[in-house]
Symmetry: C2
């Protein structure tokens, strides 16, 4: 299968590496407005050749859009304009209602499969790409009833090749769940980094003392705004809901401490401990 990847960064690059390893990709075109990414992706054998959007699409069985969600939403209608009914288009974005809405009435809508691989790191660019990144993680396909059977089948083969476990979901539900499970984690991590940077002026001390707990909590705060501002923008309502709840929860800790109500503090922590039972299933 010939594949075009629009955006040969962390996600597009990782998908390319794995699909090639699994023998699913006979030839991979890279499409990226960042020429440095193209050079690196060629060098790392992530892609076989650079292509223009038009040429890449014309010569591919599968087109993977792996760029920030606002750009993906903009580019998708034009991509669908160019495909015929033996070609499949998939995205890899972290929000789904927006992109699905953008092509709802497109004549080629059914050639598109909305996809979100629940994996990422705080790094970006082709050099960060890792073939094994997706293994064991959730691969979410949204609104599958809006896709043609054969297009869906192609994407399901891709998800299997990535060694992900497949989940089907409505795009609106997806965006609610990811607000809780992914988007709020990033906001708390950013806010935590800003808290430390605001109050802890002694950078050397942060560096010297930083424990594994701190590093794991602020790891996400290294994630780039180019990717995350569009996600928060597209999922604004859900993210605000969860953020409000999170501030409410933090205020409970504040209140317990201020009132020296350590029984209540114990309760709050014991309740939080329940996450162990859910995550360690």
């Amino acid at each position: 299968m010939k594949i075009s990847i629009i955006g040969v960064g962390l996600i597009g690059g990782s998908m390319a590496l794995k699909l090639r390893e699994k023998g699913m990709a006979s030839f991979i075109y890279g499409i990226d407005k960042d020429k440095q990414h193209i050079i690196e992706a060629l060098d790392l054998k992530i892609i076989d050749a650079e292509a223009t959007l038009e040429d890449g699409i014309k010569n591919s069985d599968l087109v993977i859009i792996a760029i920030p969600v606002d750009a993906a939403r903009k580019v998708l209608p034009g991509v669908l304009d160019l495909v015929s009914d033996h070609q499949t288009v998939m995205d890899a974005g972290s929000t789904k209602a927006g992109i699905v809405g953008a092509v709802k009435n497109h004549p080629n809508r059914e050639r598109f499969v909305a996809f979100h691989p629940m994996w990422g790191t705080e790094n970006s660019g082709p050099k960060s790409a890792i073939a094994e990144s997706f293994a064991g993680k959730a691969g979410v396909i949204c609104n599958k009833e809006e896709s043609a059977t054969d297009a869906l089948y192609t994407v399901e083969k891709v998800v299997n090749a990535l060694d992900m476990h497949m989940i089907y979901m409505n795009a609106e539900d997806h965006d609610i769940h990811t607000a809780y499970i992914s988007h709020i984690s990033h906001i708390t991590s950013y806010a935590l980094a800003n808290t430390v940077l605001e109050k802890e002026r002694e950078e050397e001390t942060i560096f010297q003392l930083a424990s594994s707990g701190f590093s794991s909590t602020v790891r996400l705060a290294k994630s780039h705004p180019e990717m995350w501002v569009p996600i928060f923008k597209q999922n604004k309502e859900n993210v605000l809901d969860v953020l409000n709840e999170h501030i409410t929860q933090l205020r409970k800790f504040k209140s317990a401490l201020e009132k020296e109500n350590y029984e209540y503090l114990q309760e709050l922590i014991s309740n939080a401990n329940k996450i162990r039972g859910i995550l360690d299933k």
Copy 2:
């Protein structure tokens, strides 16, 4: 050197394993009111024998107190009552001003060295102990001028044997820094877990979708209240300071989203990204 470890859990057990491996411990007594911990610690060869507090101390060159910070503060004066001037006592607690203050005027104060290894996991008990856990992390010694030279020397040998990099610090400064670098991370993680548990009723969905980002942010929320309530209690003022700042920082994200001020959101995230430069030095 004969060593008594009061509290053979995650920290005490990990120290025992490493000190034995490095040939620093010729015999290790375990003192723990939890009999199951003693059985496990004997079984895992973390300790050589159980002892009462009195017998353990009498027969040891070094006494390591590795129990929750409130219990450590209570037990330390009695331990110091029992030691002579060729014995050393150290603790391993996450707050330091309280314990140092509790023995400020004790006649044997200089036999005690206040210590905090900047490592931990969300797990507890001897079964969670890992010999290599401390390697490369910060080992903080507080108020070293209040300890006898030979006692300090003994603890410095321990810190070196644990392969930690040594930092000397005033107890008050330590508690301010750890509020930023460790304690607030735990509160945000607990609050995040409670947010998700409050709003996301579909446990199966949390489990299925949970990404690596989510797991790393809520990992600390698995940490037990037995350890953490006393830490927050002893470091209440500093933790409240940081928590207030953290809520302020979160409100900035809320405001940026509510006002759809995406330039401001971009700025907040770009600022948070600076943590990369500090952590990845």
